[in-house]
Symmetry: C2
Subunit: 224 residues, 2 copies
Amino acid sequence: MKSSRQPSLLDQHCDYLKHIFRLQQAQSPVSTSALAESLKVAPSTVTDTLKKLSQKGLINYTPYHGITLTPKGEKLAVKAIRRHRIVERFLTDMLGFEWHEAHEEALRFETQLSDEVERRLFVALNRPKVCPHGYPIPSKVEDVRVEETTLYSLEPGERAEVISVKDDEPELLQFMASLGIKPGVKIKVVAKDPFKGPLQAVVGRNRRTVGWHLANSIHVRKLD
Amino acid sequence: MKSSRQPSLLDQHCDYLKHIFRLQQAQSPVSTSALAESLKVAPSTVTDTLKKLSQKGLINYTPYHGITLTPKGEKLAVKAIRRHRIVERFLTDMLGFEWHEAHEEALRFETQLSDEVERRLFVALNRPKVCPHGYPIPSKVEDVRVEETTLYSLEPGERAEVISVKDDEPELLQFMASLGIKPGVKIKVVAKDPFKGPLQAVVGRNRRTVGWHLANSIHVRKLD
DNA sequence: ATTATAATTTCGGCATTCCGAATTTTCAAG
DNA sequence: CTTGAAAATTCGGAATGCCGAAATTATAAT
Ligand SMILES: [Mn+2]
Ligand SMILES: [Mn+2]
Ligand SMILES: [Mn+2]
Ligand SMILES: [Mn+2]
């Protein structure tokens, strides 16, 4: 396919930047294999693309030694993340999608939207602060901040408010919703089994059992 | 790019079907060169793609003798047209775009939308009957009907209602809007110069001069 | 320092979409 | 019937994105 815009970014490249940005938060520099797994392509494919991104000045790439985003790449990554979250919001607020559908649905077409459509969507949605999963809709790099504390890190007796939940596993999200867990909800941990065992908690006014994986997908802020 | 869906249609193919459908209304079978011009690609490229479409059973293709849509291809073309018009409506009604922007903006991302998003958009828009330019939003082949009469075919003294206006030339649309011409508006032809000369008309309560090309881009229905 | 293992890159290849130049086919005129 | 121009197709080739297998590099263990 002939690209309609020469200087601008290929959709695929935006995708790479988004994934690199996310992986970078856990570990920097990001490795080829981590990116490959995240993007679900072969490592050799990633190496190909990395060279192009490097040439465009979007990443610092030292063969065999991983990659980091350049300031320019970081800006574009934030732009892509912002767009993704606005589109998610559109899908839930204006079209009535469930939050577990919104993430994947957004991925389908978000890269094709013009800046103008994004701007107008944001306005039509009343300038939302967060996506349906509780993550901030960023304007700049500093805005992309994730609550460090997860539900699993709480000790029995502690109370916390759910800030955001990982949105990349639809089934997990759906199950979470069935437990009444979503941003804004208050949770009190009652008990926690050792060895990454499940956790007992009161969600709203229901008693729930929450497994390790699920509890670690929930970002919270401790209350008093 | 790896396609996520094997049996389904490539975006490009939908595009071909849409164009073939439109050209077919003027002349059937459609020629390679007509399609090439419409799609703005080289004739050799069209020939390549035609073979693929033919193999998928979407068109009847006899080399050197033009193409027609099969029933299957026709159905998909109508589906694509429907989607386009719903998205245009979304852009004008929900995001406040001008109608001259809506058409091109829609082309950018319409092919990426899932059926479910389309369905929900349609409902959220209150099941509109026509696109912003006055063309029907079709459910089946028969629904795609264009008013045959254009403003230019009227004789002085005749009155008509604007039904739809050609939407593929943004500048023309913008100019049209500045003259107060849009679907639903009533126009009375006052005079018409010979030899494809301009036409004098009363639009609403303003006197306007309308050139041949413009007047032929306006589909009308005669009144009484 | 050597060596094995894992991570990464290189290489050749496949598929798609596009193009221009050369060739083939059609069809209308003579 | 020829024949010549227009239209369409074939052919070779470029760019992109992807992959698996082979080669290379890093690095951790001996
Ligand atoms: Mn998401
Ligand atoms: Mn989200
Ligand atoms: Mn249109
Ligand atoms: Mn329209």
